[in-house]
Each structure stands twice: as C-alpha cells, then as structure tokens.
Symmetry: C2
Subunit: 310 residues, 2 copies
C-alpha cells in the first residue's frame, strides 16, 4: 500500500498554519519527497513518518517556495543518522542551485547525488527509486518546471500451471516471486516465465506550478490520485492565472476530467486564498471527486483487489 | 519606546511550535532583525508588525538555523512593496553565503547591501541604522560568531538657561531639539550647546551561539535586557556545552550576573529540551531576573523616567 501525504498546501510564501506545497510518498518503508519549501521539515515532523528513510527529493522548479527548505532538510536528515546517499532530481540548473544553498549545509554524513532532468528524455526515461517508478513531464510556467508521475507497479499472479509445465521446483516458487530470478542446480529461472500479465498498479501525479500543455492529459491519464496546483479559486482570476502561468480551480478540475483521473486534490493556494474550501463547488461542478487539500492530508492507496483498509 | 520581540527560541532545527531563534527590534516604526532561520518570516507574520519596515538584518553566524530563512524573507520583503535598500551585516563570508542563497531569490525590487564585519574593528566600530546604534563582539563558537549590543541613545534635557544665555531665538528651540542643528539669519545653531549631558538610553544585547570570552561581560555590561543562548538546561550537560561551544542555564545566568544586566531572557533551546521552563530555578538561583524565552515573547522598554506603559 502507498501512503500519500500532502505535507503542505501553500504557494508563494509560508503562512501561519499553512506550509508550502510538498508531497511525500511512502511505500514499503521507503519515502520520496516532491518539493521542499521553507518549513517542509517541520510539517514532515508533525506527520511522524521519520525523516531518515527519504531516498530522493524531486524538485518541480527552483522558485524559492519549492526548494528553500532544502538546506535545513539536508542537515536534519544528516542528524537522523543517515549515511546512505540521497538523490536529488530536478530541471537543468539543479546542481548550481544546490551548490548555492549548500553554502550553509556543507558537512553531511551522506553523499548527495544530483541528477538534472532533460526535456529531451521526458517521453522515454523512467526513474526508479526503490519501488517508485517516476516519469516526468515539462509543463508551462514562468521558469522551467516539471510535473511528475509516480507508479507503483504490480506483477502478474503466479501461474501454477505454467510453473508445473516448466518443471520449476516448488521450493523456488516463493523465491522467484520475491526476487524475480534465481539460480538452482546450475540453471537460471525467471519469474517472467511463470507470471501472468502485470496487474494494474497505483499511480499518483503531481502537477505544480504551471499550466498544462497538449501532452499533459496523456501524462496524468488514469492516475488514481492527481494532485494539482490551483493558485486561484474563482473563474474571474483566470486572467491573472494565465499571466502568472498558474491555474484556477476550473483549470485544475478540467485537467483532471480530461486526464480521466480517479481523484483530484487541489493544492498550492495563494496566500490571499484564506479559505480554499469555500470554493469547492467550482471544481466539483467540473470534476466531482475533488478534495480541497490541507496540510498533512493523507490517504493510503491500495492495489485494486484490496482497496479498502482492513 | 523600544519593542523587543523574540520571534523564535529554537536551536539546531525548527520544530512544531518552536521557531528558530531570532530577535526583532522596533523603534519609531523602524525594525531590525537578528538572525533569520527557516520559518522566521512566519513567526514574524504571526507577530503582526509587518515586514516592509525591516531596514537591516544582522547575522550572528552562518549555521543554517540562523540564516536558512533568508531567501524566503528577502522575497517576502520584496512582495511587501519595499524599494528601499536592505542592509545585511554578518561575519566575513557573508557575501559568499548570501550569493549562494540568492540563487533562489535573484529578482528583488530593492538593493541588498552586504556588510562584512571584521574582528579588528569590534572595539571601535558603531553601526548606525535608523535610531539603532549597534556594536558587535566576536565570541567563541565552532565557527566565527558575533554577539550584538543595540543601544537607543537619549539626548540630554534642553537647558533653558543655557539657551537664554546664548541668545538662541525661542522659535529655534524645538527645531534644535528635533534636528540637532539649524541655520537662522545666517548663523548656525547646535543642540550640543544647549542640551544637558546625554541621559541613559535603552540597551539590549543578543548572544547566540557560543560561549563568552574575557571581554564579554564588559560588552553586555548594564544591558536592560540580555538575550542569551542556553542550548542545554542542566549542569550535567556542561561537558556537552563545552564540547559544542554552547551554554547551559548556569552559564547564561552567570554571564548575566557578571555583566550586571537588568533582565535575562534565555533562548536557543536544544530540540531535546522540550520543556525549557521546568529548569528555570537553575538560572534563577544564580540570576533572579531570568525569563525562559518562548516564541514571540515581547516586551516594550521605556526610557527611565517613564519606564512603565501608560
């Protein structure tokens, strides 16, 4: 099962009672983070998941509200006792930005690996961190900006008939399911020979900040959960949204509908939008299954056959 | 009157309900800030003083918990509509650190002036920002670190006898008191000719992080308010305090006593020190007028003759 926690929901600047927009995913005890603005480490502490298991941080872009919490986060991860490398992903320029910010976070007990993502590879590359399979997609903002899609893949069922017909020893069955491959008595065995077709996994898409392009609906298509910026609520803010390359509730819910996602969470609210929930109907009229995000809104997503908490 | 607000009281990392140690002073509508860790802009917003009137930020040192909030602070000051220059003061290296952090805060509608303070000038230089007169003093920490003393000066009383004996026209009396100097009928007049000796002003000292040296008691001497780090509470943490170049409650209160200050506020508590007030007696046994700092602890200091709120 995949835990999804929207650590913060603010845009532009951190506010009392509203941390900056950031997303945490947890699966099998491993965590990855998307964006890390000022205060993200505090709301993460409130969530109580720990900080040491974060294996990677993905940045959408380099506006301060999405990355200003990085130096503190790096140091606090260091204080947690982590020694394993930490991967940082983001657009071109990440190395320069991180180098700048690390002027105040130089001594860390672990290695920081910086991976800059290129527009040229956005349609072909899949990043794998632990069990997270991440794709990325460049969107329209005032600076280069990336949207991410995270898939937890699920293998097919073990096909006993196939296993028997291939004379695979029974003592290897569970090993094959776990490891995917094993050697026994000088012979190699592969799970691909005995598994049915892969089953539907779990997918989450994170879109902030910016506006979609013509390929965005396909990129988020069928996501179990689509987390999308909606800097402005009302439709009369459309002009401002277009000018600043942000989105309104209508924009986000229309994108959710076009992308045929299952559920939409709105986030990255303007500081001027003090009660985002007042405008929920605007989004629901377009896409019914919309939730107004709030700090530490959390949901556990299950694979299809067991999609309810026990 | 001088408003003193301890915006945060945490050391090392920001915590839920405890912002990082930072001090705000406000006098005659102008403000200066000392240290700016992650989240300082949020606790400042809670205080409700506004952000635009900040004319200078003084940094004690470059550990992240004292400066990581700078990029966000600079941007939010920019969003407040400020166009006047903002001064940043700190130890040597400030320019390099600020340049690094500004990788994510490049476009500001005002100029940022960076002034690096040298150990060589610590005993002679006085920085003047608005009505704040600031002296600095290098203390003992794991990195170069500065303690600050802020004085609000007060002129002497207007001496009518002197003014009459010098034939200073009565219509210039109030102008002289306000402006200090004026020209009238081709002649220059100076307030120094007609004022009694300067009266006692208001002084505040801010000491974090580090341990005192032999000149520290003199530096803080007679402060109306001494705000001092006390990373650790109990005396059995002394070894740790010495090792990490921090202070215990006993250290801080002993320094307050030696420096003959009027009041001591403790701040910069270790994240492990969840209830700093439980150990107040340790300090009070050494220096009675001790207050355990908490976020946004605020006090208004008056000149002596009117030292109580009306």
């Amino acid at each position: 099962m995949l835990d999804v926690c929207l650590l913060g929901t603010g845009g532009m600047m951190p506010m009392p009672n509203r941390y900056l927009s950031s997303l945490l995913l947890r699966y099998n005890g491993k965590m990855i983070l998307f964006d890390c603005g000022e205060g993200t480490q505090v709301t993460l502490k409130m969530q109580g998941y720990g900080i040491k298991p974060i294996d990677a941080i993905f940045f959408t872009h380099f506006h301060a509200d999405h990355i200003s919490g990085l130096p503190g986060m790096l140091l606090t991860i260091g204080n947690s006792g982590r020694t394993e490398p930490l991967k940082l992903f983001g657009p071109k320029g990440l190395n320069e930005v991180v180098t700048g910010l690390r002027k105040i976070a130089q001594d860390l007990p672990y290695e920081v690996e910086i991976i800059e993502l290129s527009k040229d590879n956005q349609e072909t590359e899949e990043i794998i961190v632990d069990d997270f399979h991440i794709k990325y997609h460049f969107i329209e903002h005032t600076v280069t900006c990336i949207s991410y899609r995270i898939d937890i893949k699920r293998k097919g069922k073990f096909n006993v008939k196939k296993a028997l017909s291939l004379d695979i020893p029974k003592n290897l069955w569970s090993i094959l399911q776990k490891q995917g491959v094993c050697e026994y008595m000088g012979k190699m065995y592969y799970d691909t020979d005995v598994l049915d077709a892969a089953r539907k996994g779990i997918s989450v898409s994170f879109f902030t900040d910016g506006r979609p392009n013509e390929k965005t609906p396909e990129f988020i298509s069928g996501s179990d959960l689509f987390i999308c910026e909606s800097m402005y609520a009302e439709n009369d803010k459309m002009e401002k949204a277009l000018l600043n390359k942000h989105m309104t509730y209508s924009d986000a819910s229309t994108l959710a509908k076009t992308g045929q996602v299952k559920e939409l969470w709105l986030t990255h609210f303007s500081p001027a939008l003090s009660e985002p929930e007042l405008f929920l109907d605007i989004a629901k009229n377009i896409f019914e299954n919309t939730v107004i995000g709030y700090d530490r809104l959390t949901k556990t997503l299950f694979f299809e056959e067991k999609n309810k908490p026990i």
